[in-house]
Protein backbone atom coordinates (compact mmCIF):
# COMPACT_ATOMS: atom_id res chain seq x y z
CA UNK A 1 0.00 0.00 0.00
CA UNK A 2 2.88 2.37 0.83
CA UNK A 3 4.43 1.70 -2.60
CA UNK A 4 1.06 2.43 -4.20
CA UNK A 5 0.85 5.76 -2.33
CA UNK A 6 4.40 6.62 -3.34
CA UNK A 7 3.69 5.83 -7.00
CA UNK A 8 0.54 7.92 -7.05
CA UNK A 9 2.31 10.80 -5.26
CA UNK A 10 5.20 10.66 -7.72
CA UNK A 11 2.77 10.73 -10.64
CA UNK A 12 0.95 13.72 -9.12
CA UNK A 13 4.29 15.46 -8.55
CA UNK A 14 5.32 14.80 -12.18
CA UNK A 15 2.00 16.26 -13.41
CA UNK A 16 2.64 19.36 -11.30
CA UNK A 17 6.10 19.74 -12.85
CA UNK A 18 4.67 19.54 -16.39
CA UNK A 19 1.75 21.87 -15.58
CA UNK A 20 4.20 24.26 -13.89
CA UNK A 21 5.87 24.78 -17.26
CA UNK A 22 2.55 25.80 -18.85
CA UNK A 23 1.72 28.07 -15.89
CA UNK A 24 5.16 29.71 -16.26
CA UNK A 25 4.58 30.39 -19.98
CA UNK A 26 1.10 31.85 -19.30
CA UNK A 27 2.51 34.15 -16.59
CA UNK A 28 5.31 35.36 -18.90
CA UNK A 29 2.76 36.13 -21.65
CA UNK A 30 0.55 38.03 -19.18
CA UNK A 31 3.64 39.96 -17.98
CA UNK A 32 4.55 40.95 -21.55
CA UNK A 33 0.95 42.05 -22.19
CA UNK A 34 0.94 44.12 -19.00
CA UNK A 35 4.25 45.81 -19.97
CA UNK A 36 2.77 46.99 -23.28
CA UNK A 37 -0.54 47.97 -21.65
CA UNK A 38 1.06 50.11 -18.93
CA UNK A 39 3.56 51.67 -21.37
CA UNK A 40 0.67 52.70 -23.65
CA UNK A 41 -1.35 54.14 -20.72
CA UNK A 42 1.63 56.11 -19.34
CA UNK A 43 2.49 57.57 -22.77
CA UNK A 44 -1.18 58.44 -23.42
CA UNK A 45 -1.58 60.11 -20.00
CA UNK A 46 1.69 62.05 -20.40
CA UNK A 47 0.51 63.45 -23.75
CA UNK A 48 -2.92 64.63 -22.50
CA UNK A 49 -3.46 68.43 -22.54
CA UNK A 50 -3.75 69.96 -19.09
CA UNK A 51 -7.47 70.63 -18.56
CA UNK A 52 -7.12 70.64 -14.81
CA UNK A 53 -6.94 74.45 -14.49
CA UNK A 54 -10.62 74.93 -13.67
CA UNK A 55 -10.46 72.64 -10.58
CA UNK A 56 -13.77 70.98 -11.48
CA UNK A 57 -14.68 67.28 -11.48
CA UNK A 58 -15.33 67.34 -15.24
CA UNK A 59 -11.89 68.79 -15.89
CA UNK A 60 -10.31 66.14 -13.66
CA UNK A 61 -12.19 63.20 -15.21
CA UNK A 62 -11.57 64.22 -18.82
CA UNK A 63 -7.92 64.85 -18.07
CA UNK A 64 -7.15 61.51 -16.46
CA UNK A 65 -9.02 58.49 -17.88
CA UNK A 66 -6.34 56.10 -16.56
CA UNK A 67 -5.44 58.05 -13.40
CA UNK A 68 -2.32 60.17 -12.82
CA UNK A 69 1.19 59.12 -13.80
CA UNK A 70 2.31 58.42 -10.16
CA UNK A 71 -0.86 56.29 -9.76
CA UNK A 72 -0.04 54.37 -12.97
CA UNK A 73 3.59 53.88 -11.92
CA UNK A 74 2.55 52.50 -8.50
CA UNK A 75 0.03 50.10 -10.09
CA UNK A 76 2.67 49.09 -12.64
CA UNK A 77 5.25 48.30 -9.90
CA UNK A 78 2.71 46.32 -7.86
CA UNK A 79 1.55 44.33 -10.91
CA UNK A 80 5.09 43.49 -12.01
CA UNK A 81 6.00 42.62 -8.41
CA UNK A 82 3.11 40.15 -8.23
CA UNK A 83 4.02 38.66 -11.63
CA UNK A 84 7.67 38.27 -10.57
CA UNK A 85 6.63 36.42 -7.38
CA UNK A 86 4.30 34.13 -9.34
CA UNK A 87 7.12 33.43 -11.83
CA UNK A 88 9.38 32.39 -8.93
CA UNK A 89 6.58 30.20 -7.51
CA UNK A 90 5.82 28.45 -10.80
CA UNK A 91 9.54 28.11 -11.53
CA UNK A 92 10.01 26.33 -8.22
CA UNK A 93 7.03 24.04 -8.93
CA UNK A 94 8.38 23.24 -12.40
CA UNK A 95 11.76 22.33 -10.94
CA UNK A 96 10.79 20.27 -7.90
CA UNK A 97 7.14 19.24 -8.41
CA UNK A 98 6.66 19.73 -4.64
CA UNK A 99 4.15 22.50 -3.92
CA UNK A 100 4.16 22.42 -0.12
CA UNK A 101 7.34 24.23 0.93
CA UNK A 102 7.96 27.24 3.21
CA UNK A 103 9.38 29.21 0.26
CA UNK A 104 6.17 28.76 -1.75
CA UNK A 105 4.05 29.84 1.23
CA UNK A 106 6.16 33.01 1.65
CA UNK A 107 5.95 33.78 -2.10
CA UNK A 108 2.18 33.38 -2.08
CA UNK A 109 1.73 35.57 1.01
CA UNK A 110 3.95 38.28 -0.54
CA UNK A 111 1.89 38.15 -3.76
CA UNK A 112 -1.27 38.47 -1.64
CA UNK A 113 0.13 41.56 0.14
CA UNK A 114 1.01 43.20 -3.21
CA UNK A 115 -2.46 42.48 -4.59
CA UNK A 116 -4.01 43.91 -1.42
CA UNK A 117 -1.98 47.11 -1.87
CA UNK A 118 -2.99 47.21 -5.54
CA UNK A 119 -6.65 47.01 -4.52
CA UNK A 120 -6.43 49.82 -1.97
CA UNK A 121 -3.66 52.27 -3.00
CA UNK A 122 -5.30 53.59 -6.22
CA UNK A 123 -8.45 54.34 -4.16
CA UNK A 124 -6.28 56.30 -1.70
CA UNK A 125 -4.67 58.25 -4.58
CA UNK A 126 -8.09 58.97 -6.09
CA UNK A 127 -9.47 60.44 -2.87
CA UNK A 128 -6.28 62.41 -2.10
CA UNK A 129 -6.40 64.00 -5.58
CA UNK A 130 -9.99 65.23 -5.25
CA UNK A 131 -9.79 66.16 -1.58
CA UNK A 132 -9.26 69.84 -2.41
CA UNK A 133 -12.17 70.12 -4.85
CA UNK A 134 -15.03 72.34 -3.73
CA UNK A 135 -18.44 70.94 -3.02
CA UNK A 136 -17.44 67.38 -2.04
CA UNK A 137 -18.35 66.33 1.52
CA UNK A 138 -16.35 64.02 3.81
CA UNK A 139 -19.09 61.37 3.47
CA UNK A 140 -18.71 61.52 -0.32
CA UNK A 141 -14.94 61.06 0.05
CA UNK A 142 -15.49 57.87 2.12
CA UNK A 143 -18.06 56.64 -0.37
CA UNK A 144 -15.67 57.40 -3.28
CA UNK A 145 -12.87 55.55 -1.46
CA UNK A 146 -14.89 52.33 -1.02
CA UNK A 147 -16.24 52.52 -4.57
CA UNK A 148 -12.72 53.04 -5.97
CA UNK A 149 -11.30 49.92 -4.29
CA UNK A 150 -10.62 47.32 -6.98
CA UNK A 151 -12.92 44.51 -5.79
CA UNK A 152 -11.58 41.88 -8.20
CA UNK A 153 -8.00 42.50 -7.05
CA UNK A 154 -9.19 42.41 -3.42
CA UNK A 155 -10.79 39.02 -4.12
CA UNK A 156 -7.54 37.74 -5.68
CA UNK A 157 -5.69 38.94 -2.53
CA UNK A 158 -8.10 36.96 -0.30
CA UNK A 159 -7.73 33.81 -2.46
CA UNK A 160 -3.90 34.07 -2.43
CA UNK A 161 -3.87 34.29 1.39
CA UNK A 162 -6.24 31.32 1.59
CA UNK A 163 -3.97 29.32 -0.73
CA UNK A 164 -0.94 30.28 1.38
CA UNK A 165 -2.63 28.83 4.49
CA UNK A 166 -3.69 25.75 2.49
CA UNK A 167 -0.05 25.25 1.44
CA UNK A 168 1.01 25.64 5.08
CA UNK A 169 -1.36 22.81 6.00
CA UNK A 170 0.10 20.87 3.09
CA UNK A 171 3.59 21.35 4.61
CA UNK A 172 2.42 19.67 7.83
CA UNK A 173 1.02 16.73 5.83
CA UNK A 174 4.20 16.54 3.71
CA UNK A 175 6.37 16.49 6.87
CA UNK A 176 4.20 13.73 8.36
CA UNK A 177 4.46 11.74 5.14
CA UNK A 178 8.25 12.13 4.96
CA UNK A 179 8.63 11.16 8.65
CA UNK A 180 6.43 8.07 8.14
CA UNK A 181 8.71 6.95 5.30
Amino acid sequence: MEQNHDTVKQQASERIRKSGRIALVITVLILIGQIFSYAAKIIYTAKQPDTLQDMTMIGYLTFRPYGTIPDLIVRCILTFGTMALLLLLFGSLRKTGLPFTERNVRLMKAAGVLQGLQAVLPAVFHVVQIIFYDGISVVSHFRDFFRSINHVTFGVCAVLFFLAWTFRYGIVLQTESDETL
Binding site: M1, H5, V8, K9, A12, S13, R15, I16, S19, G20, I22, A23, I26, L29, I30, G33, L93, P99, F100, H151, F154, G155, A158, V159, F161, F162, L163, W165, T166, R168, Y169, G170, V172, L173, Q174, T175, E176, S177, T180
Partner: protein, 164 residues
Protein backbone atom coordinates in the same frame (compact mmCIF):
# COMPACT_ATOMS: atom_id res chain seq x y z
CA UNK B 1 -0.84 16.58 21.93
CA UNK B 2 2.28 16.51 19.73
CA UNK B 3 3.73 19.71 18.19
CA UNK B 4 2.65 18.58 14.72
CA UNK B 5 -0.93 17.90 15.88
CA UNK B 6 -1.06 21.33 17.61
CA UNK B 7 0.15 23.17 14.51
CA UNK B 8 -2.28 21.17 12.34
CA UNK B 9 -5.19 22.16 14.59
CA UNK B 10 -4.13 25.82 14.61
CA UNK B 11 -3.73 25.91 10.83
CA UNK B 12 -7.10 24.22 10.27
CA UNK B 13 -8.73 26.81 12.58
CA UNK B 14 -7.21 29.67 10.51
CA UNK B 15 -8.20 27.97 7.24
CA UNK B 16 -11.81 27.70 8.41
CA UNK B 17 -11.89 31.45 9.20
CA UNK B 18 -10.31 32.32 5.82
CA UNK B 19 -12.81 30.04 4.07
CA UNK B 20 -15.77 31.85 5.61
CA UNK B 21 -14.36 35.21 4.50
CA UNK B 22 -13.71 34.04 0.93
CA UNK B 23 -17.15 32.32 0.87
CA UNK B 24 -18.82 35.64 1.72
CA UNK B 25 -16.79 37.46 -0.97
CA UNK B 26 -17.77 34.82 -3.57
CA UNK B 27 -21.44 35.02 -2.56
CA UNK B 28 -21.46 38.84 -2.85
CA UNK B 29 -19.71 38.62 -6.22
CA UNK B 30 -22.26 36.02 -7.43
CA UNK B 31 -25.12 38.32 -6.40
CA UNK B 32 -23.74 41.37 -8.22
CA UNK B 33 -22.85 39.33 -11.32
CA UNK B 34 -26.40 37.90 -11.42
CA UNK B 35 -27.91 41.37 -11.01
CA UNK B 36 -25.66 42.85 -13.69
CA UNK B 37 -26.15 39.95 -16.09
CA UNK B 38 -29.97 40.00 -15.86
CA UNK B 39 -29.99 43.80 -16.24
CA UNK B 40 -27.85 43.52 -19.40
CA UNK B 41 -30.02 40.80 -20.94
CA UNK B 42 -33.37 42.47 -20.13
CA UNK B 43 -32.16 45.87 -21.35
CA UNK B 44 -31.48 44.56 -24.89
CA UNK B 45 -35.15 45.08 -25.73
CA UNK B 46 -34.70 48.84 -25.39
CA UNK B 47 -31.23 49.03 -26.93
CA UNK B 48 -30.26 50.36 -30.32
CA UNK B 49 -29.58 47.65 -32.91
CA UNK B 50 -26.13 46.61 -34.10
CA UNK B 51 -22.93 46.20 -32.11
CA UNK B 52 -24.55 47.65 -28.97
CA UNK B 53 -26.94 44.67 -28.65
CA UNK B 54 -24.03 42.29 -29.29
CA UNK B 55 -22.00 43.90 -26.46
CA UNK B 56 -24.93 43.71 -24.05
CA UNK B 57 -25.59 40.05 -24.84
CA UNK B 58 -21.88 39.25 -24.52
CA UNK B 59 -21.57 40.98 -21.15
CA UNK B 60 -24.86 39.47 -19.96
CA UNK B 61 -23.80 35.90 -20.81
CA UNK B 62 -20.36 36.49 -19.25
CA UNK B 63 -21.95 37.80 -16.03
CA UNK B 64 -24.29 34.80 -15.77
CA UNK B 65 -21.40 32.35 -16.24
CA UNK B 66 -19.41 34.23 -13.58
CA UNK B 67 -22.46 33.96 -11.28
CA UNK B 68 -22.32 30.16 -11.60
CA UNK B 69 -18.54 30.16 -10.98
CA UNK B 70 -18.77 32.39 -7.91
CA UNK B 71 -21.74 30.39 -6.60
CA UNK B 72 -19.76 27.13 -6.87
CA UNK B 73 -16.79 28.83 -5.22
CA UNK B 74 -18.98 30.04 -2.32
CA UNK B 75 -20.36 26.52 -1.79
CA UNK B 76 -16.86 24.99 -1.88
CA UNK B 77 -15.42 27.47 0.63
CA UNK B 78 -18.44 26.98 2.90
CA UNK B 79 -17.83 23.22 2.80
CA UNK B 80 -14.12 23.74 3.60
CA UNK B 81 -15.09 25.87 6.62
CA UNK B 82 -17.14 22.94 7.99
CA UNK B 83 -14.65 20.12 7.27
CA UNK B 84 -11.28 19.41 8.85
CA UNK B 85 -9.23 19.59 5.62
CA UNK B 86 -9.31 21.43 2.27
CA UNK B 87 -7.76 18.40 0.55
CA UNK B 88 -10.83 16.37 -0.38
CA UNK B 89 -11.76 14.81 -3.73
CA UNK B 90 -14.95 16.89 -3.91
CA UNK B 91 -12.97 20.13 -3.65
CA UNK B 92 -10.52 18.98 -6.34
CA UNK B 93 -13.46 18.19 -8.65
CA UNK B 94 -15.05 21.58 -7.92
CA UNK B 95 -11.81 23.44 -8.71
CA UNK B 96 -11.48 21.52 -11.99
CA UNK B 97 -15.08 22.37 -12.95
CA UNK B 98 -14.47 26.03 -12.07
CA UNK B 99 -11.37 26.01 -14.31
CA UNK B 100 -13.39 24.56 -17.20
CA UNK B 101 -16.15 27.13 -16.63
CA UNK B 102 -13.59 29.95 -16.78
CA UNK B 103 -12.41 28.56 -20.13
CA UNK B 104 -16.03 28.44 -21.33
CA UNK B 105 -16.45 32.07 -20.16
CA UNK B 106 -13.39 33.05 -22.21
CA UNK B 107 -14.50 31.40 -25.46
CA UNK B 108 -18.30 31.12 -25.57
CA UNK B 109 -19.98 34.51 -24.86
CA UNK B 110 -18.78 36.29 -28.02
CA UNK B 111 -19.94 33.62 -30.54
CA UNK B 112 -23.17 33.04 -28.57
CA UNK B 113 -23.93 36.79 -28.49
CA UNK B 114 -23.11 37.01 -32.20
CA UNK B 115 -25.59 34.22 -33.05
CA UNK B 116 -28.36 35.69 -30.86
CA UNK B 117 -27.92 39.26 -32.10
CA UNK B 118 -27.75 38.07 -35.75
CA UNK B 119 -30.98 36.08 -35.29
CA UNK B 120 -32.67 39.23 -33.96
CA UNK B 121 -31.61 40.94 -37.16
CA UNK B 122 -29.10 43.27 -35.56
CA UNK B 123 -25.72 41.50 -35.65
CA UNK B 124 -22.25 43.08 -35.64
CA UNK B 125 -19.46 42.11 -38.04
CA UNK B 126 -18.50 38.40 -38.03
CA UNK B 127 -15.00 39.13 -36.74
CA UNK B 128 -16.42 40.17 -33.36
CA UNK B 129 -17.67 36.61 -32.88
CA UNK B 130 -14.01 35.60 -32.56
CA UNK B 131 -13.38 37.77 -29.45
CA UNK B 132 -11.61 35.71 -26.79
CA UNK B 133 -11.23 36.95 -23.22
CA UNK B 134 -7.56 36.09 -22.73
CA UNK B 135 -7.26 36.98 -19.00
CA UNK B 136 -10.26 34.75 -18.23
CA UNK B 137 -8.73 31.90 -20.28
CA UNK B 138 -5.47 32.32 -18.31
CA UNK B 139 -7.38 32.17 -15.01
CA UNK B 140 -9.12 28.99 -16.21
CA UNK B 141 -5.78 27.29 -16.97
CA UNK B 142 -4.35 28.43 -13.62
CA UNK B 143 -7.39 26.98 -11.81
CA UNK B 144 -6.78 23.61 -13.52
CA UNK B 145 -3.17 23.82 -12.32
CA UNK B 146 -4.31 24.57 -8.75
CA UNK B 147 -6.56 21.52 -9.06
CA UNK B 148 -3.45 19.39 -9.70
CA UNK B 149 -1.81 20.78 -6.56
CA UNK B 150 -4.95 20.07 -4.51
CA UNK B 151 -4.98 16.52 -5.90
CA UNK B 152 -1.41 16.04 -4.58
CA UNK B 153 -2.57 17.39 -1.23
CA UNK B 154 -5.47 14.89 -1.28
CA UNK B 155 -2.91 12.06 -1.63
CA UNK B 156 -1.03 13.35 1.43
CA UNK B 157 -4.30 13.71 3.38
CA UNK B 158 -5.31 10.14 2.51
CA UNK B 159 -1.93 8.88 3.66
CA UNK B 160 -2.24 10.87 6.90
CA UNK B 161 -5.76 9.54 7.58
CA UNK B 162 -4.65 5.93 6.95
CA UNK B 163 -1.62 6.35 9.22
CA UNK B 164 -3.87 7.61 12.04
Amino acid sequence: MTKSAKSKTAIIAWLKKCSIAVCVLCAISAFFNLKGGLQMLFMTGNAEPGAYIFEMFRKGITSLLLTVIMGMGAVMFFRISKEDSPFRDRNVRTVHIIGVLFLVTAFVPAPAAFVISTLTGAGPSAIEALLINLPTAAIGLLMLFIGQILHYGTMLQLESDETL
